[in-house]
């Protein structure tokens, strides 16, 4: 296999370096992304997993251990820069930014997971129906999908939220109702390729009904793909929720969500205090990157020749 000059020979994993069982370098993709060796990939997966684990643990454990009164203010401690007592500093009314970030992450994660489930459920149903029915039903469904892609998702979300404000459910609905399109496309493509396989013909000639073929043979086949899409949708949904909340159209302002926190910090940013703005944003960026790292490694595993891509 010809390597281009100036190739990435230096990042080749040296066999027998003690950290992992020596493997031949041959089964590495020959133009590996970012020149990832086997060891750097293992480190990446471990770091990503640890970050995701820490986020989930913090969100689950911190609220019962450190109860937070959302209205509590301590004006003597307002806008303190990061210190040992307040690692992320305090906000404009003296609340600890780290604690509020964890609480905000809890709201954002709840919205993100529920909305991703709703969107994936709709996408799975629509995609399966379109792929399994075929013909005119398929074409009509795809026109509907075209319609949903013609309006930017955030704008459609803004429209729905504007009509049903305020509260958490309009936000979940606005994310769920706009994000099913990509899942529906993936599922439909997968169903179409499954339909041509012999076991489906066997089931049909065995007398299975349309519904049974769909439920017993097609849905299980697309679940891994749909599952991956659902997991990758969570950060997207969180992004969407925080954007709506930032615009003042999402979660009510007195409740901590990452978007409302960033919006609330705009006043103190103008006077030069950066920490109430920076840290809630990092709570969005870091878990998203960690999840993308895990998803990328997973994809490389099931399809080693394809470049892992971050689908956002």
């Amino acid at each position: 296999m010809g390597k281009p000059e100036g190739g990435d020979a230096t990042v080749e994993t040296a066999p027998g370096n003690g950290t992992a069982a020596p493997r031949p370098a041959v089964d590495r993709p020959w133009h590996a992304p970012g020149g990832d060796g086997r060891r750097t990939r293992a480190v990446r997966v471990a770091v990503s997993g640890a970050l995701i684990g820490a986020t989930v643990l913090a969100v689950l454990l911190v609220p019962p251990l450190f109860p937070l009164d959302q209205q509590a203010v301590d004006l003597t401690a307002k806008l303190e820069p990061p210190s040992w007592a307040h690692p992320f500093g305090t906000d404009e009314v003296g609340r600890d930014v780290l604690l509020r970030c964890v609480y905000g992450m809890r709201v954002s994660l709840l919205v993100g997971v529920v909305a991703a489930l709703v969107a994936s459920g709709i996408g799975l149903a629509v995609g399966c129906a379109a792929g399994a029915l075929g013909g005119r039903a398929d074409r009509l469904t795809m026109r509907l999908v075209d319609t949903f892609t013609a309006v930017p998702h955030l704008l459609m979300g803004i429209f729905i939220v504007a009509m049903f404000r305020p509260g958490i459910w309009p936000v979940i609905a606005s994310v769920g109702l706009t994000h099913w399109v990509s899942t529906a496309r993936i599922v439909r493509a997968e169903v179409l390729s499954l339909r041509a396989r012999p076991f489906v013909d066997a089931a049909i000639s065995g007398g299975a009904s349309r519904l049974r073929v769909a439920a017993r043979h097609l849905v299980p086949g697309v679940l891994p793909q749909a599952g991956l899409a659902a997991v990758l949708m969570v950060p997207h949904a969180i992004w969407h929720e925080s954007a709506l909340s930032f615009l003042g159209l999402g979660i009510p302002a007195h409740e901590a969500s990452l978007g409302t926190m960033i919006n609330g910090a705009r006043g103190s940013l103008v006077t030069g205090e950066w920490w109430p703005t920076l840290f809630p944003g990092l709570f969005i960026v870091v878990p998203t990157l960690a999840l993308a790292g895990l998803a990328g490694a997973w994809r490389e595993r099931i399809n080693p020749r394809r470049r892992s891509e971050l689908v956002l």
Binding site: T147, I158, L247, I262, I284, L310
Partner: protein, 329 residues
């Protein structure tokens, strides 16, 4: 073999026809959502005066505002007046919707086009540099920064940019269109006020172009034409820019079309942060005030922009790749 423009015209015509049902469905959907919402535009229009108003007054007003009847009737009435150029009255800004759009559209187009061009040019340059040496230091830095920017919300980037450039360095204004204390809009002040919002919008769109170009070029570097060019002893620069980049850019053309919705999304957030007087920030005001006529018109406008973006991408693709036939799209 017909001239390429004939195929292009036929493609544009077909897309125009396909846009009609899409727009009809989008607008009908908006009216259905509005009908299902607990919100009453008549009560909003008259505000607190409505507390003592009689049912008759309310009914007359409902008739005048075009909000009587089922949502399908409202939709039809709205379509008919929109076809005649009347998009209704904005409830939040107390101005005709057409006037709001006319005043603000230019500023949004300016912001978006500057940002898009910067993102495409800078993204292509960085992508080629990264693809030249996969796994090298430059590639790793560019790729990691791209992934990070991809995950970062544009409004957060915008706020951090304000903190850095307007507060700490004090080199660029934090928002608006004119300096404080002056009302005249001059080219110089527009450029200075445009720099930050356009820069942030470009940075938030940049990662997709970088990663696509990097992928396309590094794939093309392993293809036979490039190997052939190398074998003929062509200079590395000619191989990279003349051969690899040309075939690597094809997927980017499609990306230009599919990024239009994301560009509008980014503009919504960036314009709001920087108080840019465009239509995107008017959308947020309309939504906060539940201003249905303005919101409806802006949604249709963005759908038109998205469809035009898709058409543009397909036309460019057909022009750039002689294997592609416009009549088969």
């Amino acid at each position: 073999m017909t001239a390429p423009w004939a195929g292009m015209a036929r493609l544009a015509g077909r897309r125009l026809l396909a846009a009609v049902p899409v727009l009809a469905l989008v607008t009908l959907g908006m009216f259905a959502v509005a009908a299902a919402s607990p919100f009453d535009p008549v009560r909003q229009y008259i505000g607190s005066d409505g507390l003592g108003a009689s049912q008759e007054t309310l009914d007359t007003l409902r008739e005048n505002l075009g909000t009587s009847g089922t949502f399908v009737e409202q939709w039809w009435a709205w379509l008919r007046s929109a076809a005649g150029g009347d998009l209704g009255q904005s409830l939040a800004l107390r101005q005709p919707v057409g006037q709001v759009i006319g005043e603000r559209l230019g500023w949004s187009v300016l912001l978006c086009s500057v940002a898009f061009v910067v993102a495409i040019l800078l993204g292509t340059a960085l992508g080629v540099l990264a693809a030249r040496r996969p796994g090298g230091v430059l590639d790793r830095v560019v790729t990691s920064v791209s992934y990070t920017l991809q995950a970062a919300p544009p409004f957060w980037l915008a706020l951090l940019a304000i903190w850095l450039f307007a507060l700490r360095l004090d080199v660029l204004p934090a928002g608006g269109l004119t300096d404080t204390g002056s009302d005249t809009v001059t080219a110089g002040s527009v450029i200075r006020h445009l720099a930050l919002p356009a820069g942030v919008l470009a940075i938030s769109q940049l990662p997709w172009f970088v990663l696509y170009v990097r992928q396309g070029v590094s794939d093309a570097l392993h293809e036979d034409p490039v190997r052939g060019a190398r074998a003929r002893g062509l200079r590395e620069r000619t191989v990279l820019l003349g051969h690899a980049l040309r075939s690597g850019l094809l997927p980017v053309l499609t990306l230009i079309g599919t990024r239009v919705p994301e560009l509008i999304t980014g503009a919504l957030l960036v314009e709001t942060v920087f108080s840019w007087p465009g239509i995107a920030s008017a959308t947020v005001r309309a939504a906060t005030a539940t201003d249905f006529p303005l919101l409806a018109a802006l949604t249709v406008l963005s759908a038109l922009a998205v469809l035009a973006g898709n058409l543009l991408a397909d036309l460019l693709y057909g022009l750039a790749d002689p294997r592609v036939d416009h009549d088969e799209m």
